[in-house]
Structure formats: C-alpha cells, structure tokens
C-alpha cells in the first residue's frame, strides 16, 4: 500500500513535470522546482531526517503563528524573537479565520505582492491575510502530532506529499504566505533552510513513505 501510494505520486509527478515546467517563477528569476526523488531512492531514516527539517519550518514563528487552534488567536514573536504571545490589540480572527466577526485582518494586513514589510508594521503578502484552517493547527504541537496531521487527508486538504509540495509552490507563485515565510522583511527572522529545501524535504519524506517520529507512516495514518 505504501509503495503503491508512492508510485502513484511519482506517476502524478511525472505528468506534473510537463505542466509545471520549471515550477513556480518567483521574483528576480528565482524558481522553486518540484523534483520528486526516484522511487526507492529515499530511506526511512532519510525520510525522518527530512521530516525533522519540515518540523523546524512549520513550527517556526513565521509559519506556526497563524496555524493556531480553535481559539482563533494569532500569535506574535516566538523562537529566537522571544516568548510567543497573543497578537496585540485583542485580536481574535473568529470562526471565519479572517476576522470578519469583529476586526478583519485586511484592516491592517493589505495584499502586497512586493513583500516590502516595515519593522513592527503588519506583514503583507500577495494573498489576503488569514489564519490557516483550524484543522491545520501547528502552534505548540509535537513532531508526532504534526506528522499525523500532515499525513491525514482529512486534515491536510486532501493532499499526499506531492500535493503538499504543489501547494507550497502554488502559494509561493502568488507571492503568498509561504514565500513570505522566507522573505518576511522588516528585520523579522525568516523560516529556516529555504523554500526549495522545504519542498525537497516534503517530497523526500513522501518518497520514504511519510515516516513519523512515533514509528508510524503517513500511509498507516491514512488507511
């Protein structure tokens, strides 16, 4: 089952390669490529190492601060920037996750493809600012919890590993939150590694069978 899923992904990847050409073209000629590893080329150990790096990324404040739970309160700071704390100004994004109930995110976080953000000013990206869906909660979650979530189609938007990589590249192509995570501006600490490394790690993790720290695999979780 695991190998079938991986092979399906790789077949899909081969078809996708023609469609995506070189992947998403970002600013100044930079590109993010989707290049799935060959079948059987990634060991479980290498897959776990790739997930460890993925965990470093998704729990970094640039990513996790808007992947919060059902209390709908975005976070500020965290990591090297000091203790995480709830978003100032008593902000609650509500069940809408865009603040529609009280104070919309768009009041301050405007759409701005330049990613030219000032220090201490509200970050802006090429997509309308929002919290991630509540089922994508990462803030404060353990490696095993996040691995299970990323492996669960009911909690990851119905995506396999290739689908997750496509999602990252598509978002970056819109100059959205994913790209912003590595280009946050204003002196903010970017997410670790690079977007290309993160995409590569997601694909390697998928090719290895989506191994999780608790010994399960993504294919186990989705069965």
């Amino acid at each position: 089952m695991r190998y079938r899923a991986v092979n399906r992904s790789l077949t899909k990847a081969a078809a996708l390669a023609g469609m995506l050409a070189a992947g998403a073209v970002l600013a100044k000629g930079a590109e993010v490529l989707i290049e799935p590893p060959a079948a059987g080329s990634v060991s479980v150990e290498e897959g776990r190492a790739a997930f460890d790096r993925m965990y470093d990324v998704v729990t970094h404040p640039r990513c996790a601060n808007c992947h919060v739970g059902a209390e709908n309160v975005p976070m500020w700071y965290g990591g090297a920037e000091g203790p995480a704390q709830p978003h100032g100004m008593n902000i609650n994004a509500g069940e809408s996750r865009i603040g529609a109930e009280t104070l919309p995110c768009a009041t301050c976080h405007r759409v701005n493809e330049t990613l030219d953000n000032d220090p201490h000013a509200p970050p802006q990206a090429g997509l309308e600012w929002r919290l991630a869906p509540v089922e994508f909660e990462w803030f404060g979650k353990s490696p095993a919890e996040i691995c299970a979530q990323l492996s669960d189609p009911d909690r990851n938007g119905g995506r396999d590993a290739l689908g997750l990589a496509e999602h990252l590249v598509e978002d970056a192509g819109h100059r959205g939150f994913v790209l912003w995570g590595w280009q946050p501006g204003g002196g903010r600490e970017p997410a670790p590694y690079s977007l290309q490394q993160h995409v590569n790690d997601v694909l390697a993790w998928g090719a290895a069978g989506q191994p999780c720290p608790d010994g399960t695999t993504g294919q186990d979780a989705s069965q």
Binding site: T102, L103, T107, R110, H120, A121
Partner: protein, 154 residues
C-alpha cells in the same frame, strides 16, 4: 503612478509614487487633514478610513491599491447638519477629550456597526482594541457605540 478614485463621493486623480500610503495621499495631496497620523505602522488606528466600505489603516494602504476605489474619510461620513449616527452618539456621550484619535475611532466604529448592527460589550472591545486613545476614553467609546447601534437600528 496615476490613479483615479472616489473620495467622499468626489472623483479624484493623483500622480504619486505607487508606494505612497493613502494617509499621505489624503493629507498631503488632497488636503483632507481630518485623518490623523499617529504611528505609521498600524499600531494605533488614528488614520482609519473606509476603503470600499471596510475600515482600513490609511498608513498601510499603498497608492497602488487606489485606482477605482471608493474612499470615505471623516470629512465624508456625515455633516454638521446631518451627522452619521456614530458621530451623533459621540457628541451625545461627549466621547472626545483631546480628540486626536477620534476620527479613527469613529470611522472604525461606523464600519464595525455595518458588519455587526447589535454588538455586545465584548464584540465592541474586540473591534475597537486596535484604536488607541491616550486620554483613556474607552468607556465612553463603548457606550457611544451602543447608542449608535440603537440609533442605526431605529
């Protein structure tokens, strides 16, 4: 860059750098100084105006967003003879002390009441907490928002 947009019902044209904040378009280019500069980084709410009906911090809206937009500032919300219900409630409760933040407070409250015509205390606090008042008029702001909601609903 050039942009044509509406401010308080009047079509205006500008030719400014595309990253000029709306706040400076209003104050320096169009001489509408009712919208106040407080911090320039959306931390205070003093520059709040309406963009296509939504309260926004004018210091965070770039000129590149303006072509075709409809902007309402405090000068266009009501008139002395026919104030907007929020402005009328502000007068009734004598909300303002120094008054510097009040145009932003009023614009935020008016937009919020369009979204939520009958808010609770907690909802008012959630919507208005991004608008700072160094004079501490928050209790009167909350009371005035309730009064304005009643006026708008009657």
């Amino acid at each position: 860059m050039q942009a044509t947009f509406t401010v308080n019902g009047t079509e205006r044209q500008i030719d400014v750098p595309e990253d000029m904040p709306l706040l400076w378009v209003l104050r320096d280019e169009l001489k509408l100084t009712g919208t106040k500069y407080g911090c320039g980084i959306a931390q205070c709410g003093a520059c709040t105006v309406h963009l296509d009906g939504l309260a926004v911090r004018a210091c965070q809206v770039a000129a590149r967003e303006l072509d075709g937009a409809e902007i309402t500032t405090i000068e266009g919300l009501g008139t002395p003879a026919a104030p907007h219900p929020v402005q009328a409630a502000w007068i009734e409760h004598e909300v303002a002390q120094c008054g510097y933040c009040q145009s932003g407070q009023i614009m935020q409250a008016a937009s919020f009441l369009d979204l939520n015509p009958a808010p609770t205390d907690e909802e008012i606090d959630a919507a208005m907490s991004g608008n700072l008042c160094r004079c501490g008029t928050y209790s009167r702001i909350r009371a005035a928002v309730h009064t304005a909601a009643t006026k708008m609903g009657s």
